[in-house]
Amino acid sequence: MHPAFSVIFLTTLIGVGQGLFLALFSAQAYGMAKLLPAQSGSFFANGSFLALLFLLGGLFAAVFHLGKPSYMFTRAWRGMTQWRTSWLSRELIAMPAMMGLTFLYAVFHWFGWEVDLFGWHVSGQLSLAVGIFGVLGAIALFVCTAMIYAAVKFLQEWSSPLTVVNYFVLGTASGFTCATVYASYQGVEPELVHFFGGWAIALTVLGLITRSFSLLRNARIKYKSTVQTAIGVRHTQVQQKAMGMMGGSYNTREYSHGKTGAFLKSVKWIFLVLVFVIPVILLALGLSADHTALLLLAFMTQYVGLLFERWFFFAQANHPQNLYYQTI
C-alpha cells in the first residue's frame, strides 16, 4: 500500500495522546490508593491538555486524508452515521469522544471540583470517574483505529489480532514515555517519574515482542489470491502483458509504496532500533541519572521511530488488486 503521511501522523499522534492519558489516569489512581505520591490538580490538568494537543494534532493530520480538507466541515459528520458496519465510522465517533473526555478530565482537575462519589473521603473522586470513561474511550479508540486495518481481510498483513495489539501497545508505550518526560519536566517526586519510566520501558519491550510476532507472521504469509484466481485461468504460467494503460492510474499509485525491497527492509531495521532499542537505553540512562534531556531524547527518538514503523506497516501490506497491475 502507499503510505499516506496524513494517516501516519494521525495514528502515531493519537497513540501518544491516548497513552499519555492512560499514564496520567494510572498515576491519579495509584496516587489515590496511596501507592504513589498524590499530585496536584494542575499536574493532571496540564498533562491532559498536552494529551489533548496530541489528539488535536492527529485530527489535524486526518483532515489531509480526506479528498478535500473542506470535506471536514461539509461532509465528515456523515462519517458517524455508518457505525453499525464501518470501523472507520466508529473511529470517527470514538475520536471526538476521547477528545471530549480528555478535555473534561483536564477541566475537572483544573477547577478541582470535588464530590465524595464513592464515599472514600479522598479528593479527586469526580475526576477519577471522568477518567474511567476516558480510559474506556482511549481503549475504544485504539481498537477502532487498529480495526480499520485489521478488518480489511484482503490485506492479509493487517488482517490479524496482532494489528490491534500492536496499535495498543505501541501507542501506550509512546504515551508513557511522553508521560515520563512530562513528569520529569514538572519536577515531581522521582517515584512518579520512575513509575512512568518503568512502565514505558516495560511497554516498549512488550511492543518489541508483539511487533516481532507480526513481522514473523508477515514474513511467512501465504497469499490467498494468485494471478490464476484473479483471471480464472488454470495454468501455471500466466504472465501479464498489458494492464490497459501506459501512464499509470489510481490502481498503480495507491497500492504500491514505489520503493525497492532493500529500502523496505532498511526501514524495518531503522524502526526496530529507533522505536525499541534506543528509547529503552535512553530511558534507563535518563531515569538512573535523573536527566530530563535524555528522557526527552528518548521520547523524540521513539516518536520518529514510530513514523518509520507506521510507514513500514502500510508499505508492507500487499493488496490482491496488484495481481491485475503487474506490468505496463
Binding site: L88, K224, V233, G244, M245, S249, Q321
Partner: protein, 242 residues
Amino acid sequence: MTQLALVIDLNVCVGCHACVTSCKQWNTSSEKAGPLFDDRPYGEDPTGTFFNRVQTYEIGCFPNTETLHFPKSCLHCEDAPCVPVCPTGASHKRAEDGIVLVDYDKCIGCKYCSWACPYGAREFDEYQKVMKKCTLCVDRIYDEKLPESERKPACVLACPTSARLFGDVHDPESQVSVAIREQGGYQLMPEWGTKPANHYLPRRKTRMHIHEDELVRTDNPLKKEDIRHGTSDDVTLDDWLM
C-alpha cells in the same frame, strides 16, 4: 430480487478497447457519473479515471502460448465488501437491482472502500476528489427516451464481437444466466466470498473429432477409396448369396 450484471465472454473478446472508450465517452458526458478527468491525455504518461480496463495476459510458455484479453470493471458483488466499510454511506448497493454505486455528494474521499475491493475496481478522481466506479450505466439502462434495444450499458452496445452480455443473473432464464449455466461462467477470486455478480465465460477450444471410419466409409457415399478386404478361399455365406 434482481441482480443486474455483465457476462464477459473471454472466448470472443479481441482486446480492442471499444468498451473502454465507449464507457469513458458515455460516462464523462453523463450528468450522473461525469466528468471523468484525465491528466496529459495527449502527452507523455497519460493518466485518468476509467471505469473499465482491458488487460492482456499470456498463458503458457512459448511456443505453446495463448493470448487472453481480459476486460475488468466493477463486478457488482452480491456481498460487496466495499459497501459496509464506507463511513458515510456514500458507497451503497441498490436493493432493487443490485448495482453498487457511490453517492458523490456524500463521499469524503477517504479511499477506504478501494482498500476493501480485492479487484481494484474503484478509481479515485483526482479532480472531483471522490471515489468513482462503474455504474452499469444506471443513467442509460432505465432511460425510457432511448429505444429499448439501447437501454444497455455503453460497453455492451459498443462491443463489436458481442463479448459482453447484460442482464439479470438472478432470473434463471435470462440470457446471462443461460450463458453462465451452459458455457461454464465463473467468478473472479472466489476465495474471498465476495460473490461477484459479473461472470466470465472461459476460452474454449473448438476441436473436430473425426473418426477414421467417418472419412473412409460412412461419410463417403462413393466409396471412392475402394477398400476391399482380402478374400477367403473358404466357403462363406457370401458365396451363396451373390
